[in-house]
């Protein structure tokens, strides 16, 4: 449905410097899919969305919507945004404050080249408002809506022309946490029901994982990994992906030459030898990072240093978060972040054994590391 090929977008800064907002991005979205662009701010995801919308033009690359070439830098072709027939919800919602709810939604029909009769407009607007559960608000001045209602209004406006594709630019980021979770579910249901091809931009990994068919993780103008949510979370290919999505621990190490058992290889880390799956493209002797999520680490009071992937540590910090205990366990000179069951009664300074199950350890090459860590995981991942 949407095909993006080798897009390059360069912005010129005020001091003549160049910023590569997009650096050769390609992907395609099949019809009816929910495709998410995920990345930290400044990674180029919004720029990418605006290129697809036709609000910006690339320096190189092509975009197809359906079978139509809507934009091509080589052919100097760009169909303007108002002729691409897409729906878009902006981060700020861009609700026109001088219009009522009805007028906001009716606008796309009123300016359309295709003439709509008064009754037809009313029918379609009412329809769109019912779809987003805003029926009855027609005559309300748009600025008087709450944040969540404005978001739905923006959605109704985007859908009223029944476009083939829907672009969503962080539509939930201005809402509070509870409302965000609720609207996340509603939005996904609506998208399934309408079967509309959707590209969703967000920096919130939970949103991305919960809603998408496919997630594309972006960093510094490139897509660094693309796949189903589970794949992205469980098999991160780079340190960036592992770090950006969820919390994780990074243990630096080196693959030991020639040592294999049951297909697992061994990695020498500061803590000791860890046995786990190592991707074939990583050679023996290479420097690697082992990524393991805090909730996958098992703990016990019985110290058993002899068992595979078992290490002895000392509990340094514990924070009671209701759903789990967020703990820091010192192993060697490294603090490892571990989520433990909340009922566990354990004292700071106590000795315990931690087990890093090989099946949850992901091995990532340690050469081209892109530094990123979000504040929450910084404490835990002392790489």
């Amino acid at each position: 449905m949407i095909n993006v090929d080798s897009l390059v977008k360069i912005f010129r800064g005020s001091h003549g410097d160049q910023v590569h907002a997009l650096d050769g991005v390609s992907f395609s979205v099949p019809e009816g899919q929910f495709f998410t662009l995920l990345g930290p701010s400044g990674c180029g995801k919004t720029t990418l969305l605006r290129l697809i919308a036709g609000l910006e033009n690339p320096q190189a690359g092509e975009i197809y919507i359906g079978r139509t070439l809507v934009c091509s830098a080589d052919k100097k072709l760009s169909i303007p945004a108002n002729e691409r027939n897409i729906g878009m919800v902006f981060q700020s919602y861009a609700i026109w404050p001088h219009m009522s709810v009805f007028e906001n939604v009716a606008f796309p029909l009123k300016v359309s080249k295709q003439r709509y009769g008064r009754n037809e407009i009313r029918r379609r607007v009412d329809n769109a408002l019912t779809t987003v559960r805003l029926d009855g608000f027609q005559d309300r001045p748009a600025p008087l809506l709450s944040g969540g209602q404005q978001q739905r209004l923006a959605l109704a406006r985007a859908l009223v022309r029944e476009p083939k594709i829907l672009l969503l630019d962080e539509p939930l980021s201005n809402l509070d946490a509870k409302l965000r979770e609720q609207l996340r579910i509603e939005l996904r249901q609506l998208q399934r029901q309408l079967g509309i091809t959707t590209i969703y931009v967000t920096h919130d990994q939970a949103e991305a994982l919960a809603m998408s068919n496919t997630v594309a993780v972006m960093s510094q103008g490139k897509i660094v990994q693309q796949g189903a949510p589970r794949e992205i979370y469980e098999q991160p290919l780079t340190q960036f992906t592992a770090d950006f999505i969820g919390s994780t621990n990074f243990l630096p190490g080196k693959v030991i030459t020639g040592f294999r058992s049951n297909g697992d290889r061994s990695v020498q880390t500061e803590q000791g030898i860890i046995s786990c799956q190592v991707p074939d493209e990583i050679e023996d002797g290479e420097q690697v990072l082992i990524s393991i999520r805090p909730q996958h680490i098992l703990t016990s009071r019985e110290v058993n240093p002899a068992a595979v992937n078992h290490f002895t540590g000392i509990l340094r910090e514990d924070a009671y978060l209701g759903e789990y205990l967020d703990c820091q366990v010192e192993v060697g000179t490294t603090l490892i972040r571990v989520f433990m069951p909340p009922h566990l009664n354990i004292q700071r300074g106590e000795m315990l054994s931690i087990h890093l199950p090989g099946s949850f350890c992901t091995v990532i090459p340690h050469n081209n590391h892109q530094e990123y860590s979000h504040p929450a995981s910084k404490i835990g991942s002392l790489t």
């Binding site: 919308a53 945004a81 108002n82 897409i86 861009a94 609700i95 026109w96 404050p97 359309s112």
Partner: protein, 549 residues
Amino acid sequence: MLYLAAVPLGMLAWGSLKTGSLLDTGGLTLNNFKLAYGDPRSYSLLVNSLIYAGGTCLFSLVIGTSLAFLVERTNTPFRSLFTALALIPLIIPGILYTISWILLLSPRIGFLNRILVNLFNLQSPPFNIFSMGGMIWVEGLHLSPLVFVLMVVSFRSMDPALEEAALTSGASYASIFRRITLRLAAPALASSMLIMFIRGLESFEVPALIGMRGDIRVFTSRIWLALREFPPNYGMAAAFSVGLLLISLAGILLYTRLISRNRQFATVTGKGFRPHIIDLGNWRFLTGTILIIYFLFLVGLPFLILIWTSLNPIYSFPSIDKLTLLSLDNYRFVLNMHRTRTAFSNSLISSVGSAAVVMLLTAIIAWVTVKSRSKGKAAVDAITFLPITIPGIVLGVSLIWVYLVLPIPIYGTIWILLLSYITRYMPYGIRINSASMVQIHNELEEAASISGSSRLQTFWRITIPLLKPGLIGGFIYIVIVSFRELSSSILLYSSKSIVVSILIFDMWDGGQFGEVAALSVMMILFLVILVSAATRAGTLFGIRVENKS
């Protein structure tokens, strides 16, 4: 734009270099400059101009800033009332303000002088308004509300946490004021200072009516004198104009540099804060009294003396026993005068016309400069800003040169006045429209584009309606300032295209005090009605913009 701003300046430069009179085909020389600046008296002209502008600037700055602080940051009584009242003087035209202060402080007829002489049995009147001090007093007082408004904004938008942090660090109020508040206000102070300096430099009413009587000449009055000679010395006027233009250009350049540098450390954000209010204790009665006295001087006395004078058939000092002599004769006389009707209708047409043209034209220009990414944007910005550097009288001289030389027959008609107002107030329109344009989130227009609307449709259906509050505000402002414009009109009017401010100036020159006062009161009332009608219209047709984004 280029035509409006650049052509007159080009003609001015050319005119200043021409030999002989206007239409002679003489060559170009520096003769005019030699004549103008070779004269040793020109040196005192420069000194006078600088002292006058500097003094005005300091005086208005001190008053305006202290009052802004009292009103915005202390619990002085009447402060909210004061904020509203302080805007009134901005409506009163400079010429009326000047006239009323002459009536109050002239050594011969000044009312305040007379009272003080009687009260203390003085030999001679204590004040002479026809002096440098008098000039600075009147112009400074008249400009002080402007400083007040600028500084109130600055004091209001300061993050109170910055001061509270100093308070919790153990600093006293005095040292907080000195070390934190004033430092934070410094950018606003500096830019107000430059604005007031330039306003002082280009002011015409006070130098013409007060300065000339006291034989204190500044650039603006000197230019006017050169044109009053017979035959008018256009070349000399142009040469002086170039000098004045250069000084004010330097000031504006300094101002823009200051502004752009200040943006880099944004201590003052756009957020609405609840500022820290200082409890003055019993001192607040003193500060309250200061507010009242200031208001009395600013508005009360000048307005009362105008009313009194307007009600007296023959000019006399206010006293109880003369109350019976009061009559409306002056008003009757003025109303029956043919020129009055001509002047009011000319003023109304030219001010409303120029305001409408300016606001619509600048809305389009602002759209181009703010929203588009075209390359010429910086140039357009600079050109539209250019007229702000041109003092009114200089613009007048330039336009004389343009329309006496070019074969466009608008000299002496109302069209040339309209043109000069449009040129003069274009920068204000740009400012207002760009400011509101910047606040319109790009996404509002992009959303329209995504919805399938063309650029033109977007401009009319989204942009213009969103600009409306600014458009109406700017319209009102330009109507007021062009209605009271004097310094360029005085060089461009003819008996057919006379406007109210000129009529007042003219009759004052003829010594018709009572009639002038009556006309002044009418002019003020007219402006007040105009402003409140426009404000009412604004609230009726305006919209509430509560963009939560």
